[in-house]
C-alpha cells in the first residue's frame, strides 16, 4: 500500500513542479534549462525503457536525430505545422526503429550495444550527405508559431509528461512484465510461450517513437539542428541521466536529467567541460552508487524505517 502511495505522490510532485517551472519561470535562460531538462528526462526514460529488457540502446542517437530532422524538414520545406511535424517525425523514427530492431535484435549485449553505436554514427555521417538537410552546417529556421512562443516551455513540459506517462503505463502492463522477464531470465519467458523477439522489437518501436518526439521538440526549441547534435554522445548523456538518477526506478532518469543538466549549466559558468562533467557523473555513480540517487534514497529510507528498534 505504501508503495503505491509513494508513486502517486511522486507523479503529483513531478507534474506540479514541472508545470510550475514551465509557467512561473520567466527568465528566458532558466526557461531554456527547463526545456532541456524536460527533453533530457524523456531521453533518459526512453533509454531506460529498453534497459528493462537488459539492453543498452545506443541507436537512440539515430532515432532522436531522425525525429528531429524529419520534423525540421517537414516544417521548413513543406510548411507543416509544428505539432504535426513532430508527430510525423516521431512516426518516421518509429518505423526506422522497428525495422532496426527487427534486423538487429538477434544480437544481444555488447553486440547490440555496438551495432546501435555504429548505427547512430553512420546516420550522423549520413545527414551531412543530403543538401536538403543542410549538410554539415545543419538545418536552420525551425520555429514554432509566433503565438506559442511564450507557451513553449509549458507545451514542451506537457508533451514530455504525456509520453512519460505512456512509458510508465507500458512498463506497468503485462508488456512491461515480459520485458522485465526478458532482461532477467529470457529462457523462462520463452518456455511459457512468450514471443520474446516480438516483444523486444515492440520495445524498440516504443522507444524510437518517444525518442522521435524528443527529437522534434529539440528541433523546434533549439531552432537549429546539425549532425553533431545526434552523435553517440546523446545516448551516452542519456545513460548518465539514468545511472545517476537510478535505473531501478521510473523517476530515476528524470531526476538524473534534472540534476545533471542543472549542474552542467551551473558549471559551464566556470568554464568546465560538459563531457567531463557527464563522464565524471557516470564514473562516480557506477563505482560508488550503482543504484543512483534514488537507490541511495530508498536505502536511506529503509534504514530509517528499521530505525532505533534495531541495535545490532
Amino acid at each position: 500500500m505504501a508503495r503505491i502511495d509513494a508513486n502517486l505522490i511522486g507523479w503529483i510532485v513531478l507534474i506540479a513542479a514541472a508545470v510550475f517551472a514551465a509557467v512561473a519561470v520567466t527568465n528566458p535562460y532558466l526557461s531554456s534549462i527547463v526545456i532541456l531538462i524536460a527533453i533530457g528526462a524523456l531521453l533518459g526514460a526512453s533509454l531506460r525503457f529498453v534497459m528493462l529488457m537488459g539492453e543498452v540502446n545506443f541507436a537512440l542517437g539515430a532515432f532522436v536525430g531522425i525525429g528531429a530532422y524529419t520534423a525540421g524538414l517537414l516544417h521548413t520545406a513543406a510548411g507543416l505545422n509544428f505539432a504535426l511535424a513532430i508527430l510525423v517525425g516521431a512516426s518516421v523514427s518509429m518505423v526506422v526503429g522497428t525495422t532496426f530492431g527487427a534486423i538487429t535484435l538477434r544480437a544481444k549485449g555488447p553486440y547490440f550495444m555496438l551495432i546501435g553505436f555504429a548505427f547512430t554514427e553512420a546516420v550522423r555521417v549520413a545527414y551531412s550527405k543530403f543538401a536538403v538537410l543542410g549538410g554539415t552546417s545543419g538545418m536552420v529556421g525551425i520555429f514554432p508559431p509566433r503565438a506559442l512562443d511564450l507557451w513553449m516551455p509549458l507545451i514542451v513540459v506537457l508533451t514530455v509528461i504525456v509520453f512519460l506517462v505512456v512509458l510508465a503505463i507500458a512498463e506497468r502492463s503485462d508488456f512491461g512484465r515480459i520485458l522485465f522477464a526478458i532482461g532477467e531470465n529470457e529462457p523462462v519467458a520463452r518456455s511459457v510461450g512468450l514471443n520474446t523477439f516480438r516483444s523486444k522489437v515492440a520495445a524498440l518501436a516504443v522507444t524510437s517513437a518517444t525518442a522521435g518526439i524528443a527529437g522534434g521538440l529539440h528541433a523546434f526549441t533549439n531552432n537549429v539542428i546539425s549532425p553533431g547534435d545526434f552523435s553517440f554522445l546523446l545516448p551516452a548523456f542519456a545513460l548518465a541521466y539514468v545511472k545517476v538518477g537510478g535505473e531501478n526506478h521510473f523517476f530515476g532518469p528524470i531526476l538524473g536529467a534534472a540534476f545533471l543538466i542543472a549542474l552542467s549549466h551551473y558549471a559551464l559558468g566556470f568554464g568546465a567541460n560538459e563531457s567531463f562533467l557527464y563522464g565524471g557523473a557516470i564514473v562516480l555513480s557506477v563505482l560508488l552508487m550503482p543504484g543512483g540517487m534514488l537507490g541511495l534514497a530508498s536505502r536511506a529510507v529503509a534504514a530509517v524505517r528499521k530505525g532505533p528498534s534495531s541495535h545490532d
Binding site: 515480459i178 523462462v188 518456455s191 514471443n195
Partner: protein
C-alpha cells in the same frame, strides 16, 4: 478442459488423427544430439502416455537435461524426430513447442528473481490467456500450489522450497498438456520434497494430465512415477515401472559403477 488453439502459433504437421484422443502425448524417435564429437544423446526413442507421471533418470552426465532442451525446442537435434500429440515438433523452437502444450522448467532459478510471486505466475498466463482471465488464473494456480500467502513477496526473498514451487507455478499457469520439470526437488529438505510431490500427485489432473520429471532424488522418483526411463551415456538403458527398474541388473550396475567412479 481442452483450450481453444493458442494465438499466433503454427503447429507442426499433423501426422495422424485428432490429437485429443492420442494415447501418447509425447513420442521421440531416434533422438540424437552431437556436440562436435561428443554424443550427448544417442538414438533415443520413447513414448510418454497421456495422464502418467514419467521419470527420466540416470547418472550424472547421462544426457537428461539435454533431452529436455531438445524436446522443448531450445536445442536443435542432430538426428531424430519428436511429436507432441502427434504433431511433429522436430526442429521447432520453444515458441511453437509451448504452443503445442509442452512447457518446461529449468534446473536453476526457473523464475524471475526481482519480480513478485504474483507477477511471476502471471508471466505464465500472458501467452495463453486473455487479459481478463489472467488474474483469475494466477489466484487459481497459487491456491493449487499453496502460494497464496506469499503472492506479494519478491521471489528472491523466499525460502528455496517456495522458489521451486514458484517455478512450477509459472509453468502450470500456462495450462500445459505436458509439464516437464527439470530437477524440481534439488536442494529441498524432506518436508519440502513431500510437499511438492503431494502437489504433483493431487493436482495431476488439473496440471494438464502428464508430467515428465528429470530427477536425482531416487526415493521421490520411485515414489511418484508411473513409469521410468533410465539413461546412461546418452542412450536408453531401461524403461519400466519403478519396481522393474529397481530390480534391473543393468541399471544397478550403471549406478553402482558410477558411484564407485565418483
Amino acid at each position: 478442459m481442452t483450450d481453444t488453439a493458442p494465438r499466433g502459433t503454427k503447429p507442426g504437421r499433423i501426422v495422424e488423427t485428432g490429437p485429443g484422443d492420442a494415447p501418447d502425448i509425447l513420442r521421440i524417435e531416434g533422438l540424437t544430439r552431437r556436440f562436435s564429437g561428443l554424443l550427448a544423446v544417442n538414438n533415443l526413442s520413447f513414448e510418454v502416455r497421456r495422464g502418467e507421471i514419467f521419470g527420466l533418470i540416470g547418472p550424472n552426465g547421462a544426457g537428461k537435461s539435454t533431452v529436455f532442451n531438445l524436446i522443448s525446442g531450445f536445442l536443435p537435434a542432430t538426428e531424430g524426430r519428436s511429436f507432441v500429440e502427434r504433431r511433429e515438433m522436430t526442429g521447432q523452437r520453444p515458441l511453437t513447442v509451448s504452443a503445442a502444450g509442452l512447457v518446461r522448467t529449468f534446473q536453476h532459478g526457473s523464475y524471475i528473481r526481482s519480480m513478485t510471486v504474483r507477477d511471476n505466475i502471471r508471466l505464465g498466463t500472458i501467452a495463453r490467456l486473455k487479459s481478463s482471465d489472467r488474474a483469475g488464473r494466477v489466484d487459481e494456480v497459487a491456491t493449487m500450489l499453496g502460494l497464496t500467502h506469499v503472492l506479494q513477496e519478491v521471489a528472491e526473498n523466499l525460502p528455496h522450497g517456495l522458489q521451486r514451487l514458484v517455478s512450477i507455478a509459472i509453468a502450470v499457469a500456462a495450462r500445459p498438456k505436458l509439464l516437464c520439470l527439470d530437477e524440481p526437488l534439488t536442494g529441498l529438505n524432506e518436508t519440502e520434497v513431500g510437499n511438492v510431490l503431494e502437489v504433483l500427485r493431487r493436482y495431476r489432473g488439473e496440471l494438464g494430465g502428464t508430467i515428465i520429471l528429470v530427477e536425482h532424488n531416487m526415493k521421490a522418483v520411485m515414489n511418484i512415477c508411473d513409469r521410468i526411463l533410465v539413461m546412461h551415456h546418452g542412450a536408453l538403458l531401461a524403461t519400466g515401472t519403478p519396481k522393474e527398474i529397481a530390480t534391473n541388473p543393468a541399471v544397478i550396475k550403471a549406478y553402482l559403477g558410477d558411484r564407485h567412479a565418483n
